[in-house]
Assembly symmetry: C2
Homo-oligomer: 427 residues x 2
């Protein structure tokens, strides 16, 4: 497509898309082009009935015996096994539990234990300044507790920062602001060459891009259940630990669900073997039931080529949107923060603009095109208009329509309407 | 009632019970006498429709904007405010989030920060040997990290253990095995006299017995959402901190939801003021929606005398069951582990028996009388048959029928049937 693609071109691409049927697994609200699956994934069609069954039958009728009969007790592992298939891990290596922040605390605390034992002279955690803030906050808190220093660098300074005094490199695989993606295998090899453990946050990768935890040599990973995995609002997150590390140390959130025999009720902690020791307390079963439904869409995608096929479509969607921005929105002041090179980008496109980014997002939302806004820092990191392209349920015509709406919003000047200036608590 | 109460006596008590209408707020499975609300509370009638609305409308239709329009963002505070009314706290002092184990880690870590600053020579955490094990595991992990010693004592040794080297006294208010209750005000005063901070686990108190956090002088408290609060399986737990302590230190699970401005996305952590800093990551909204329904039953109870009236009924129910065990089950080898003195007991009755406790519980379950079994340690702490009496939905005739079934199970010898010997993963 050297010329600017037309709506008809895009409709043809949709008709030829071997993954187009996957969209039928979700309930998409009519009249909406939802480009925010990177923030909250859409509703799987199976979720309402499954959650209702969990509420009325498993909870309401069977009550406490559902821990056994409905398999509540093993749900974190069973959901974890489904997630494992999406992120290149083996069954038994992933637990679905708690929030991403809390899981990051678990693995970072464990990584520091290992680093302290193997390399007691190391004193630093390195991360990226534009990493998702909660990751930095958790690292900052642990550094305070353990006497480490958190060194924040820009993405292009990471390689140079991997010095002998670094214990852990903690990165988010796909940047939440720009959609820029690290090469997990290359960066991990660079880190390991200096005896540095790697902790990866897959919040914007799991279900969005192929991840190969087993193949990449990564040490620890966490990720989010409610974004590309379509697990529902605040769905439990997940945690993965390389099998060579799991049994070496406790993580400090050593609750009863991570005990070797939780129902023996012994007063001293004996950690379970393997990833189970990364559990802590009882998990929210209703929310775990919903994410189980979200993951089934990925199992259905496996017969159609799985994450490799989803990746191919994702790149086509993000590439198409960038092409439309370059050609149709030329002169409207937008920059593209997302890398053009395919190997360097996730499944979103982030636009920058010197002013008006928030209002433009709001004007698009008023038209049914749902993206979101992420504030910059007033300096190096600009305000961002963020558009996620989820290949499970977004089509080429959706991309074209989104760009068309953005053109109209800019050409009409409607984004300057006062009603779009007021910021909500959460956007 | 000096004579053994009859079923007719109990039916009369039910007819005269001013709280009897509260049972209609719940869906109780037919043919079941549910004496396990201390483990998993029953289904509030409003929950199926509320959760379905959260799934299909808030998530499915409104998607990301529900953070504002459905109030997801403030749900941990709003649910927390409802819990506050049940535990003697003020609005704004309680957050519903995460699991009890994780919340205990937050408050115990914060308490140790305060103790270190105020009394740097203190070296111990004291707790009860028969405290719920996850509490001990979390304390054990923190002691390892911070260089403290965890000293476990029996209940009658607590007062003597409160020496000058103790930093924190961590107790579960009502013991999960025996149902024995501490006097929070007295014990807290004893602790404070030695400069010791108190951390209370209200897992078996919140919604079961009156709790007066503000009046007792307690320093920190956590509790469970899925037991007497009827929040559904794995419902989010809660955390309370005395306002004099909240702003003194961070807790180490310093995630973005505890930040003063979570959507400013600044790389450094600035804790929110007050209890909000005890939040960490995104919460499971579907499960939070369910517990919100469970709490509404307590608001309805307020017009009928609230926790004081519920307590009066609870004591009558547990007293009745103990009376029936003493009179009708005499000679069947049961002991009563729960204190006879009303001020010392929670809302459950625990029976001991030298052998067969597990099989007897299973035989009762087969008859529709749901209690549970808690293993002893083979020594001082015997196996327990545990029966929770939730005054919101259990009546006097239920108690009589439960005792009747227990008589029949023992007199027929059916508990010795082989099918009751096999233990489930979770009981």
């Amino acid at each position: 497509m050297n010329l600017t693609p037309t709506l008809q071109d895009c409709e043809l691409l949709d008709a030829q898309d071997p993954l187009r049927g996957l969209r039928n697994q979700f309930d998409l609200p009519p009249g909406v082009i939802y480009l925010d699956g990177n923030s909250l994934g859409v509703l799987p069609k199976t979720a309402p009935a499954r959650v209702a069954h969990a509420v009325t039958h498993e909870w309401g009728t069977d009550l406490i015996k559902s821990w056994n009969t409905a398999g509540w007790f093993t749900l974190p592992q069973r959901v974890g096994d489904k997630i494992a298939r999406v992120i290149g891990a083996q069954p038994g290596e992933v637990i679905a539990a708690d929030s991403t922040s809390i899981n990051l605390f678990k693995v970072l605390a464990a990584a520091l234990h290992i680093a302290k034992a193997d390399h007691p002279h190391k004193t630093k955690i390195v991360s990226e300044r534009s990493n998702f803030p909660t990751d930095l906050y958790i690292a900052e808190a642990l550094c305070k507790e353990r006497g480490y220093t958190l060194q924040l660098v820009e993405a292009d300074e990471i390689a140079a920062a991997l010095q002998a005094d670094v214990a852990v490199l903690m990165l988010t695989h796909v940047n939440y602001r720009t959609g820029a993606m690290h090469n997990m295998q290359t960066v991990t090899a660079q880190a390991h060459a200096q005896g540095i453990l790697t902790v990866w946050d897959l919040a914007h990768s799991a279900g969005a891009v192929p991840v190969d935890l087993n193949g990449s040599g990564a040490d620890f990973a966490v990720g989010c259940g409610y974004k590309y995995l379509n697990g529902g609002p605040g769905a439990p997150a997940f945690v993965w630990v390389h099998p060579q590390h799991t049994d070496r140390f406790w993580q400090p959130l050593a609750g009863w669900w991570g005990h070797a025999a939780p129902f023996a009720f012994t007063p001293d902690y004996q950690p379970a073997q393997g990833i189970t020791r990364y559990q802590c307390g009882t998990q929210p079963i209703l929310s775990l039931t919903a994410i189980d439904c979200g993951l089934d869409a990925f199992l259905a995608a496996e017969a159609l080529g799985g994450m490799a096929a989803l990746r191919q479509k994702s790149l086509a969607l993000t590439g198409l949107f960038m092409q439309l921005v370059r050609t149709r929105l030329h002169g409207h002041g937008f920059g593209i923060a997302t890398p053009v090179e395919e190997a360097l980008r996730g499944s979103q496109v982030s636009l920058t603009r010197a002013e008006g980014a928030y209002a433009i997002v709001q004007a698009l939302i008023a038209r049914g095109v749902i993206g979101d806004f992420r504030a910059g820092d007033g300096g190096q990191h600009a305000d961002i208009l963020r558009f996620g392209f989820t290949p499970l349920y977004i089509g080429y015509a959706d991309v074209w329509q989104a760009a068309e709406h953005l053109c109209q919003v800019m050409e009409s000047g409607e984004w300057q309407d006062a009603r779009f200036a007021q910021k909500n608590a959460v956007t």
